[in-house]
């Protein structure tokens, strides 16, 4: 205990043991009491323990499995019911605070009966806590892992590139970390219950210093990473909402690695259709896809005989790291489009386009997916004039040639 602490009346400490470690928590609190620091009625705030100064003494602390949530918004405000407190007080124990799934009681009367006198009954009390933690573990896995994958129809690679591989992996790490924490807690409580059911009581003495540094650092590290992930996610969302990375396609001068509407009829006059949206291009980059281009183009191709083809071209282009990734991305996009547009999805026939992989379908608009080496492109062409239309077999061939030529 440092000299400065001795002068203070209140100190704040990161717990060196996890909330589910009953014996560790009891030993630590007793050790603090011997130094004159007693857990305050405020207990723990944001994971930090609050201690108040007093005369050093030997005091017993005991943890009691809470039959219901200890959250502030739960029934009873997260405190034990009145009967439990009355019985405890009558037998020499005082309720102090709660932490995690446990109530913390203390007694400075050495003659007071031990808080739990029947380990098998204590095992019964732990049952509810174990069930809550098991439900929490299942919930974490379902909502943080299975649900997002289901919403994306299993398109992991697509999600990684859209979110950013770094951000995706950090999210996966946090989910795994949270699930592991929950699992460790469930296993620890299971081990304790097994011990209690065999009639063996807890010893209330544990060397809590052994892994103190890790247990203090771990929640802080998790919080920092979660904050970083949240910030990253917000930035991605914000960029999508404000469309800050979108550029005007009409003034875009860089060469594109694929063909656009102008390529469909060489020599035809191309005029931009400006509906106030569309005619945009967004260029991104990711670890797994060094070049990602999203394009939407609205225009009219006018032929010499006065005929015109009016339409909108939507392109998603990816240059990935390997041919396998390009093919996997193509598969995932197809699956995604099939599930998302179940009512309109229909497979279409394509001639041989001379690329590694080609598929065509209609998912609202006629769509072609092509891969060549490590590149993949998804092109949807919506022709909104009935007067002149270019059949899929024609525009797919032209755009496939353009795609191969830019490889």
């Amino acid at each position: 205990m440092c000299k400065q602490d001795k002068k203070k009346k209140r100190i704040y400490r990161l717990p060196p043991i996890p909330a589910y470690d009953i014996e560790g928590t009891e030993s630590w609190l007793e050790s603090m009491a011997k130094q004159g620091w007693f857990l305050s009625g405020s207990g723990f705030f944001a994971g930090v323990a609050i201690f108040e100064k007093g005369e050093p003494k030997a005091i017993r602390y005991r943890l009691d499995a809470a039959p219901k949530s200890t959250g502030v918004w739960s029934d009873g405000g997260g405190e034990p019911d009145e009967e439990a407190r009355a019985i405890s007080e009558a037998l020499g124990w005082k309720y102090v605070a709660s932490r995690g799934n446990f109530y913390i009681y203390s007694s400075d009367d050495p003659a007071a009966q031990e808080f739990n006198t029947d380990p098998q009954v204590q095992a019964l009390a732990l049952d509810l806590v174990r069930r809550r933690e098991r439900a929490s573990l299942v919930s974490t896995i379902i909502w943080a892992a299975i649900y997002p994958l289901c919403m994306a129809y299993g398109s992991v690679l697509m999600m990684m590139i859209a979110l950013g591989t770094g951000l995706f992996l950090l999210g996966a790490l946090l989910v795994t970390w949270a699930a592991c924490r929950s699992l460790v807690q469930v296993l620890h409580l299971h081990k304790l219950q097994k011990q209690m059911r065999s009639g063996e009581p807890l010893t209330h003495k544990k060397d809590w210093r052994k892994r103190a540094v890790w247990h203090k650092a771990e929640p802080f590290l998790f919080f920092v990473l979660a904050l970083a992930w949240g910030t990253g996610l917000f930035q991605v969302w914000s960029a999508n909402v404000t469309e800050e990375k979108q550029q005007d396609l009409k003034t875009y001068r860089q060469e594109l690695p694929f063909g656009t509407m102008e390529a469909l009829i060489p020599g035809a006059e191309f005029e931009w259709d400006d509906f106030g949206l569309g005619n945009t291009i967004e260029v991104n980059s990711d670890i797994l896809a060094p070049e990602v281009i999203t394009l939407s183009q609205f225009g009219t191709l006018s032929l010499e005989d006065g005929a015109a083809i009016e339409g909108a071209l939507y392109v998603d282009y990816f240059e990935t790291l390997t041919p396998w990734m390009a093919k996997e991305l193509a598969r995932e996009y197809q699956v995604y489009d099939r599930h998302k547009n179940r009512r309109h999805y229909q497979t279409l026939q394509l001639p041989d386009l001379g690329v590694d992989y080609a598929a065509a379908y209609t998912a609202i608009f006629p769509t072609v997916i092509l891969t060549e080496d490590n590149r993949m492109i998804r092109i949807s062409f919506h022709q909104y004039s009935d007067r002149n239309t270019m059949p899929l077999e024609e525009w797919a061939v032209i755009l496939a040639e353009e795609f191969k030529a830019h490889g």
Binding site: I87, A90, D118, V121, L124, A125
Partner: protein, 107 residues
């Protein structure tokens, strides 16, 4: 290990049922009864006591008959009485078997 938690009563469970079989009581009275009846050989802890009261109430071995501030009075039910008397019978059989062995005549 019993498949169900209350299949075999532990010592604490037995004495709590004994107390309530004697008369309706609140938690503090149960603790005092047990200590007095066993001549301080058994002193039930508070967490053990209120965990058992909650469990017995859920399993319908006891029912709450009165609430007065923080004090709740319980009464044993038919199911609880049966569980208690079954346990007494079981313990008597154990003692009878031990006495047949003849090793504990002086107890």
């Amino acid at each position: 290990m019993p498949k169900k938690a209350l299949e075999n009563l532990t010592e604490s469970m037995f004495y709590v049922l004994m107390a309530l079989n004697h008369a309706p009581m609140c938690g503090i009275e149960i603790a005092a009864f047990i200590e007095q009846r066993t001549e301080k050989a058994i002193r039930i802890g508070p967490a053990t006591l209120y965990t058992l009261l909650a469990k017995f109430e859920k399993e319908k071995y006891i029912r709450e008959i009165e609430v007065d501030g923080r004090r709740r009075t319980y009464q044993i039910t038919e199911k609880g009485t049966k569980a208690y008397s079954d346990e007494v019978a079981r313990l008597k059989r154990c003692i009878a078997d031990a006495e047949k062995e003849g090793e504990f005549d002086d107890v």
